[in-house]
């Protein structure tokens, strides 16, 4: 029978169970929100308010009372944007922009980095007992979004929108808690037009939601169970275990993050909004530079436009360009988390980018298939290896796991492993096939999906949800990038 108490508690905020896109409660709420949203189609103001209120509720389910922090940030940033746009003196406008950015960053610094700085400076073992400071979900994302908005206002790329539009831009729930980092100049113009949800958008939306669901709720969450075991205690991991754990995490983080983004973009399409592409088959990259053009595109382009180019980009000579590149990647690494391991990860990628820039300058590379294959193997290997410190609990654990990769592997052990963990190996294969699949095959599959009737789409979704229930662990596996 239905337990009404626990049913009602599903609607309240619970820190251990934030509302995720693949949860039943979200499905129910979104379905009925969509109906309400459609009913007010003729009144765009009301429609926007319904969307804003639903977004607030979604954020409340993720972060509880930190919704108030979001509201304060939005109001203050909007106020500053009006000041910046109305100021005629450019130095004053720059001052207001800097002040607004400092204001936005101050919350991020306090919630995310204060304890890290205090511990790094040796101020007490536990810093300020910051176990009691809970990181508001998505703060890194919406902070970067508001910074991009303020700078674009200062550069006069966009005009100050109405408060309603700005509220909707920041709080729009598909991208609010884990990206993509949407630029105001891409999103605000959509709010001025009448919402159109075409059949193509619906097909694309459903396709992305289904694809994202498979990646996140089935592949990533299942693989996480094994990866967590090895990374929790890498000492004594055999070569086979280490390789499968390292490959597993590379797939997990991609499927988790890109799966979430796919669902976010798909959900936005169903409401008539188009968000930017965030992943473009990054594991098919032939160089580290190409990887960063395909991985977390919204972040890498933000770093390029608001860190790398303002520092000087390639305008101040080659040597300084390399320095700026390294600094940008360190900031990018640090954005991911308040821990030295993320800084090292950023440095690792920064050095690789610098190396690639140097190599490209001195070596002319021909586009032969052999060279492309070697480039792919090298790029994929370094990216996968650099995920080790990103995931490991400590640098020493990273080294242990890294060294384990070089242990001799015998075929018998490999066979036994595959036999014992058939489903894990199978999903690893499926996951990597999806990521490395030829674009033509992907398009064919997409075309098939678009063609099929709504009944087939319904049956497919039901089967996938059932598969998810069967293989999920009892632990909630939040989106990896939730913690950022």
């Amino acid at each position: 029978m239905i337990d009404f108490n626990s049913l009602l508690s599903e609607f309240a905020y619970r820190s251990e169970a934030p509302m995720l896109f693949h949860h039943g409660i979200f499905l129910f709420l979104f379905a009925n929100f969509l109906i309400l949203y459609a009913i007010f189609y003729t009144n765009s103001k009301v429609q926007k308010w319904i969307l804003i209120l639903f977004s607030f509720y979604f954020y409340y389910k993720s972060s509880g009372n930190y919704l108030l922090l979001l509201l304060v940030t939005v109001c203050v940033d909007y106020f500053f944007s009006i000041l910046i746009s109305k100021t005629t003196k450019s130095k004053l406008a720059t001052f207001f922009t800097a002040l607004a950015i400092v204001f936005s960053l101050s919350f991020l610094m306090y919630f995310k980095y204060l304890d890290f700085f205090l511990r790094s400076l040796g101020l007490g073992e536990q810093g300020l007992q910051t176990a009691s400071i809970v990181l508001p979900i998505g703060i890194s994302f919406y902070t970067f979004q508001s910074i991009s908005y303020l700078v674009d206002i200062h550069r006069k790329v966009i005009k100050v929108p109405s408060l309603l539009d700005y509220l909707l831009y920041i709080s729009f729930f598909p991208h609010l808690v884990a990206g993509p980092i949407v630029r105001a100049k891409d999103f605000l113009p959509q709010l001025k037009k009448k919402i159109q949800v075409t059949r193509e958008m619906v097909n694309e939306g459903f396709y992305l939601i289904t694809k994202g669901f498979i990646k996140k709720a089935i592949i990533a969450d299942f693989i996480a169970q094994y990866v967590d075991i090895i990374y929790a205690s890498p000492t004594g991991a055999s070569g086979v275990e280490a390789i499968f754990a390292v490959l597993g995490y590379a797939l997990q983080i991609f499927c988790d993050f890109s799966g979430y983004t796919d669902m976010a973009i798909g959900i936005a399409l169903l409401m008539g909004y188009r968000l930017c592409l965030n992943f473009d088959s990054p594991y098919k990259s032939l160089s580290i530079t190409q990887f960063w053009r395909k991985w977390h595109i919204s972040l890498s382009s933000w770093l390029r436009d608001f860190i790398y180019i303002p520092l000087g980009g390639n305008k101040k000579g080659f040597v300084l360009q390399l320095v700026f590149l390294l600094v940008t990647m360190i900031i990018g690494g640090f954005w991911h988390g308040a821990d030295w391991k993320f800084v090292w990860w950023g440095i690792g990628h920064g050095l690789l980018l610098v190396f690639h820039k140097l190599l490209s300058r001195w070596v002319t590379i021909s586009g032969s298939k052999i060279w492309d294959s070697l480039s792919w193997i090298l790029t994929f290997s370094v990216v996968v290896i650099l995920w080790i410190p990103f995931r490991a609990v400590s640098l020493s654990d990273s080294l242990i796991l890294f060294m384990a990769l070089f242990q001799v592997i015998d075929l018998e052990t490999l066979f036994i492993f595959c036999q014992q963990n058939f489903l894990y190996v199978f999903l690893l294969g499926i996951g990597f096939s999806m990521t490395l699949l030829n674009n033509e095959i992907k398009e064919r599959f997409k075309a098939w999906y678009y063609k099929e009737s709504i009944i087939i789409k319904l049956v497919l979704l039901v089967v996938l949800i059932q598969v998810m229930y069967e293989i999920q662990s009892s632990e909630v596996q939040p989106f990896i990038y939730f913690q950022f």
Binding site: M1, I2, S15, E16, G24, L27, F28, F30, A31, N32, F33, L34, I35, Y37, A38, I39, Y41, Q126, A131, V197, R199, V202, F222, Q225, Y226, D228, I229, I230, A232, S233, T235, G236, A237, S238, E241, L270, M271, V393, S394, I416, F417, Q420, N421, L423, Y424, I454, L458, L461, V462, I465, Q466, V467, Y469, E470, I471, S473, S474, E475, V476
Partner: protein, 276 residues
């Protein structure tokens, strides 16, 4: 906007299908195995099972206190070359559990030795839950190997989000009956959660009753991972547990000495055996 309404109806339909399933709980389901054990752990257990196939030949070696019914015979016959006997002259304690033992085993050993008990071995099974301890012969194997006459269990930290209470109750009861069938006294140190659990503590408390210590009520300093109690916190933690054990008359752990002891207990890490 009819399209949006139809999409809303579509999602409601999907939701209703699963709500109906949740209420009526039809039998249809796929049995898929999730990789909760590393294959090396399974291989180890498998090897242990294969090597030790000696069947007890005379009932003399079976203590009278164990009921010799067919199930018990099967358990004893199952594989081990160490016939189960109790050594009454020394109090031998076996400590088993999950990764909490990493920091807990040293204060446990110290306190036991202060009170003339002997910690014969600690079995640290990283990532394990009540499921692994119930469904494998790990517990039986180490009991047979070390012949303890008391077992300390510290398990459950990895089940903080567990909601399948029926299954978890079954696992906890299996562990309990595995100990009781061998007439082994035991004490269960509850998991020291860093956050509120979803109900596993209640399951364990109901199963083990008076022989359960509610560690979740303690506020303990955590290690760098934010989850496991730190080394210092583990000392305080076991002090509290020891007080409770002594008060209830389960063991006498009242003495605290300044002596430093040689560590001659064994520690088994279930991933790969490791020298301590």
């Amino acid at each position: 906007m009819k399209r949006l309404i139809w999409i809303g109806v579509f999602f409601n339909l999907v939701f209703l299908i699963f709500l109906t399933k949740a209420i009526w709980q039809p039998q249809l389901s796929l049995e898929l195995k999730s990789p909760e054990l590393t294959f090396l752990q399974e291989l180890e257990m498998g090897q242990a099972v294969e090597k030790k196939k000696v069947v007890l030949e005379s009932s003399d070696t079976i203590p009278d206190s164990i009921a010799v019914d067919s199930l018990q015979k099967e358990l004893i016959n199952q594989t081990y070359d160490f016939p189960y006997t109790v050594n009454d002259s020394i109090k031998r304690i076996l400590f088993v559990g999950d990764s909490q033992l990493e920091n807990l085993r040293k204060p446990v050993r110290k306190r036991l030795m202060d009170n003339d008990y002997q910690l014969v071995a600690s079995v640290v099974w990283y990532g394990s839950t009540t499921k692994q301890w119930a469904n494998t012969d790990t517990l039986a194997y180490f009991i047979s190997k070390y012949k303890p006459d008391f077992v300390l269990v510290a398990l459950g930290l990895n089940e903080v989000h567990a909601r399948d209470f029926e299954k978890r109750t079954k696992y906890a009861q299996t562990i309990k009956s595995n100990l009781e069938q061998r007439n082994l006294p035991y004490y269960y140190i509850g998991p020291a959660f860093w956050m509120k659990d979803k109900g596993i503590t209640s399951v364990l408390q109901e199963t083990f009753g008076e022989l359960f210590y509610p560690s979740h009520l303690l506020t303990l300093e955590r290690s760098n991972d934010g989850k496991h109690p730190s080394k210092d916190a583990a000392v305080v933690w076991f002090e509290k547990v020891a007080e409770q054990i002594t008060t209830k008359g389960i063991l006498n752990l009242g003495s605290v000495k300044d002596t430093i002891y040689r560590d001659n207990s064994e520690t088994i890490f279930l991933k790969v055996p490791k020298n301590d």
